[in-house]
Symmetry: D3
Subunit: 136 residues, 6 copies
């Protein structure tokens, strides 16, 4: 019996959408006010979804306490109250769009989970905009 | 890397569930108080979900500003503060159930999106009832 | 010890904002698309707040089961799936704005409660617009 | 046209996570404070999702009134204000983790639905932890 | 300038509403299924609201980090994953209704705060039922 | 009859909590990770609450369309996608804590409203932290 368990977490961060190799005009045309050179920010709300067989012994797919701690160490400690562009190595050359942040979170968590477990990341950039990525 | 981006929107509308070709008794039996001939209404909360590859240049699957404007023009302007039965051509002969409204919204948005993008519509008729349609 | 107990409820209804004694032009100027003669509608989410002393015997300010039933009979049965303008007597001559609906709900519930209890009505017309009335 | 309709419901219950055949030490090591022998509890929020073809006659996948009543009889009446370990037969020998509760709910509802309909259960144990099961 | 700062927290607990000095019949008549002798439970969502002058030096009414830790130590550690009737001394002789739990939380936190600060407790027993207490 | 009408709005911004006249050590001790010199950010969710008499002619306390536009011009255009410390004049010498931002929003809106209307600002810095200010 395959079940998906989901855990919510959150982090607050500043970011700016732009490409160093584009002109200011092109950055403005594509990214609009998200290209503010002084940064803006979000409360990112995160749902980590892990799919796998229920362990007959425990009744768990994964131990939520373990998953919660993993998200704390790998994601919240790395991203919370940070400037994504300036302080998070993954975004040195990668534009921190919600799409790319979801991929980065997936790539940080996937190798830490049992390889039999499937992973999906849902990331709310605002209560009205959110993205999903599941490694496909 | 395939990501789903989701944008929330909303519209308020009046509707009535019934079929012209059924008797009042049959309409009441099937649709209950939703068959009130004087109409009732809802705050429809909409999630438009678009799945596709992340554009390497922008880091976007779709530009949210463009998607937001498309939803405004195609859906909100067409349905907001309307009587679905009397004023929305798609429901002239189609019962405006949540299921059918989701299909109509899908059919209005799909041709406006790049053909490579998959679309899913989530429509909340109330905070307790909602439907999903993805063109299958 | 004075405590406020709050109970959520909801009803869906159609309405139209306008005054019979105003011209169509004036109604449009003041009420905009809310003046659609074919009606539009909302999911009204209601919070009924009752303030009073905790009963030493029960530990209750009011019995929630009793309050829930009262809201069902007085408010949900009267307003749910109704056209407020055409079917609810209180709005025969009263414009069904959120403000006025809250006052009507207050006036319907207040006489049914123990006179020692204070009442406040919170009414969400949409998740983004809501009103409060407490009989002052 | 295949649509998923979703209905929210809820029940409150006490439970304890443990295995009779394990020592107190092992139960504590695996289940932590969830192994409190005096029980703790949750407001379980449930989403029942049913997927199928839209009926051309009604515009419904399933009649929400029927689905609502089914959830009331099969799930809410069986689980609400209960001690899952002591009073619900399905958990006599089964640890009432969120995962296992979702499977039990699925197994109770599936045979009551038209066999052509697919079913998915989403169960929130807290606003921050939830699981999904769809019979796979 | 007087501002209210609000911090959300939560705990899960089992409880039972009843009075030892009443007959089983009377307890059932008043407390219904909340009188289940095997207990039931809730996810209690808590809002702690503290009102006072903004400190000119910090721009804070209270330091949220300090308030968060205080709630953790005084409330979450005392009530989370507990059986309120059996394990929490304040409810040895006091019926753990939402009203009484809010009063107990107020009485635990008030002496730990600067005496100039006003305190209000909002406690959600379920997403649909909640109470407020401010020491009056 | 006095009613409070409430309108939700939102803006995203970057900020940093610190005082220029304090040492880095003191800023760190008081503001912790909120003192990150590279900034972090939030989705600020705003509720503007206006209390006054219901206008007998319209049934409104204030016209929500007018209030919505006022919030757009005075608050969203001024604060959305901005760095509060660097780009918003009110925070040149004022620490942009949630408390101070609420006061600034109050002071921007109050003079634009009819003097008979009372105003309260509720500002969510995160879904778990929020403040209220009503000019007292």
């Amino acid at each position: 019996m395959e079940v998906t368990v989901n855990r919510k977490a959150h982090f607050n961060a500043a970011h700016r959408l732009y490409r160093k190799d584009w002109s200011a005009e092109k950055n403005d045309a594509i990214f609009g006010k998200c290209n503010n050179p002084n940064f803006h920010g979000h409360n990112y709300e995160l749902i980590v979804s892990v799919t796998g067989e229920i362990d007959k012994n425990t009744g768990f797919v994964v131990d939520m306490k373990v998953l919660k701690k993993l998200i704390k160490i790998e994601i919240e400690d790395a991203l919370d109250h940070k400037n994504l562009n300036l302080e998070v190595p993954e975004f040195k050359e990668l534009n921190p769009t919600a799409e790319n942040i979801a991929v980065v979170i997936y790539n940080k968590l996937k190798p830490k989970l049992n390889a039999k477990l499937a992973l999906e990341i849902t990331l709310y950039e605002t209560p009205r905009n959110f993205v999903k990525y599941s490694g496909k």
